[in-house]
């Protein structure tokens, strides 16, 4: 059982690459983002290093939508079994052709209701 090579979050709104940040913590709270992130039209992706630790992985990000609003959010995914209650996004899709047995893994996280929704939902984590 292992992790994919990248985490990619897709948004309903176009992004601007301002103030972008992404941190992926493994269950031991170590940041496993292993290189520069990429901001494309609708998505933010970052390479992560391989980790075999089972448990909860926490993804925290900041993006700015095309209309100039910064958004910060956080969600979890699991390798193996859930070790904590989930705050998963509304809809999670996996990229076609790849399966991750036993992992609830958002290779592509589609936030169907858009970032405004996510913003409201996660803004209290500060």
């Amino acid at each position: 059982m292992s992790l994919p090579k990248t985490v990619e979050i897709t948004f309903a709104t176009k992004l601007m690459d301002i103030g972008t940040g992404i941190v992926v913590l493994d269950p031991s709270r170590k940041n496993i983002v292993s290189g520069p992130f990429t901001v494309s039209e609708y998505s933010l992706s970052a390479p992560i290093s391989d980790s075999k630790i089972l448990g909860t992985y926490e993804v925290t990000y900041r993006v700015v939508s095309e209309d100039g609003h910064p958004v910060e959010g956080r969600f979890n995914f699991y390798l193996g079994q859930s070790s904590a209650p989930t705050a998963s996004p509304d809809r999670v899709t996996e990229k076609s052709g790849r399966t991750w047995p036993n992992i609830f893994l958002p290779l592509a996280v589609v936030l169907a209701l858009g970032i405004a929704f996510i913003f409201r939902r996660y803004r209290n984590i500060k």
Binding site: M16, D17, I18, G19, T20, G21, I22, V23, L25, N31, P36, F37, T60, Y61, R62, V64, D67, G68, H69, P70, E72, R74, I125, K126
Partner: protein, 395 residues
């Protein structure tokens, strides 16, 4: 060639020695300007010195960067230009009318006028038999996002005028343009202004047209490394104690900028708008912590924030910025305004170019700015009363 009073400006100066010049000027101005001259004990900045003025002193509130090309690029003509410039500047900056000044009353309030002359790389290809230029002094290469317009770029030489009074400034520019008119042609003029108030109390930084506090991390005169960062101390002797000016006209795309949330605007630079503090800091002058994170663990100064990329990778990779704002009104229905980015460095190859290279590649500010003009000049060393600016090129 002649001014309206029929006295040839050049015949007074060029070709005659310094003594002849002094004699002629007393003869002409002895009575006429004495009353005027008694009013001049006001703000003025010395002209003579090891370095030219207009760099170390606090920038005047308004500026004109006037670019000239030699009409007939000969060594003798260049020398005449430099002599005329020196004579005019030595007088005008001290509140004294120039020789054969058509409006001497306009010269009496120097208002911190400085006049600073620099030569462009083109001069060394156009004028035969000049000494060679330092190898670190070349045209700035075009960067990917530049949209350079020749009407704002390059020339054989430039005169930077800075002043606190618009009348004095106009007079000085007009006087010089007239005096040089048979020798050199004005190619372009860039007019700039700076706020007359610091951005907030307790700082020397001022706001630019984007509302940002500018000047927070700038090696100002007095800084122990200022001299080595700014004044040339290698290469040919004639350039020693000069400096290199990089002058870029950078348009700000205000309509697009203004839709950004304030917090997004702050992320673009990496500093707060209200007090200029780096994100994560409380006050402007605290050392920047580029590793600072917010409560979520995300970096506060993002990978493509302007200050992260502009920050020198080493102590010598720094430039001294002395910018002006420009506002050219509405052109084709759009606001035409921005920054006259003026920076000084003793060696652009080891300071300016790497910084600009990083900014061109990924500065998030690039979305809201476009360089539309770019030039570089070697600001000649200063001179004493018995010489003239640029004399070192002829010895």
């Amino acid at each position: 060639m002649s001014d309206h009073s029929g006295i040839s400006r050049r015949s007074l100066l060029v070709g005659s020695g310094a003594a002849g010049v002094a004699g002629a000027s007393i003869g002409y101005f002895g009575k006429k300007s004495s009353a005027v001259q008694s009013m001049t004990e006001v703000a003025k900045i010395g002209f003579y010195g090891v370095h030219q003025s207009g760099i170390e002193n606090t920038p005047g509130l308004i500026s004109n960067f006037v670019a000239f090309d030699l009409i007939d690029p000969t060594k003798a003509n260049l020398q005449s230009v430099l002599r005329l410039f020196t004579d005019d500047a030595a007088r005008l900056t001290q509140g004294k009318p120039a020789l054969a000044d058509g409006a001497p009353e306009l010269a009496v309030n120097p208002a911190n006028l400085t006049m600073t002359l620099g030569v462009g790389p083109s001069l060394f290809t156009r004028v035969p038999r000049l000494p060679s230029k330092p190898e670190f002094f070349n045209e700035i290469p075009a960067f990917p996002n530049d949209q350079l317009d020749p009407k704002w770029s390059g020339s054989d030489f430039i005169i930077q005028f800075c002043c606190d009074d618009s009348l004095t400034l106009s007079h000085a520019v007009g006087m010089i343009a007239k005096d040089l008119s048979t020798l050199a042609q004005v190619r372009w003029i860039q007019t700039g202004a700076r706020s007359d108030k610091p951005a907030f109390s307790g700082t020397t930084s001022v706001r630019n047209l984007m509302g940002q506090v500018e000047g927070s991390d700038n090696p100002l005169p007095g800084n122990p490394i200022f001299n080595s960062l700014v004044w040339i101390n290698e290469g040919p002797q004639w350039a020693k104690d000069g400096t290199i000016l990089i002058l870029r006209r950078i348009q700000m795309l205000m309509d697009k900028w203004e839709i950004l949330d304030r917090s997004a605007q702050e992320m673009v630079i990496g500093r707060r708008l209200d007090n200029g503090a780096a994100l994560g800091n409380k006050v402007e002058n605290e050392p920047v912590n580029f590793e600072a994170t917010d409560t979520l663990g995300l970096p506060l100064i993002s990978a493509n924030a302007h200050i992260r990329l502009a920050h020198g990778a080493s102590l010598s990779e720094r430039i001294y910025r002395r910018p002006y704002n420009y506002d050219n009104g509405i052109v084709d229905g759009k606001r035409d305004l921005g920054l006259i980015f003026a920076a000084f460095t003793s060696n652009p190859v080891t300071s300016y170019l790497p910084i600009q290279g990083r900014l061109a590649q990924s500065d998030s500010l690039n979305k809201w700015i476009t360089a539309i003009g770019s030039s570089t000049y070697l600001i000649l060393p200063g001179c004493t009363e018995n010489s003239y600016i640029g004399e070192t090129l002829f010895t």
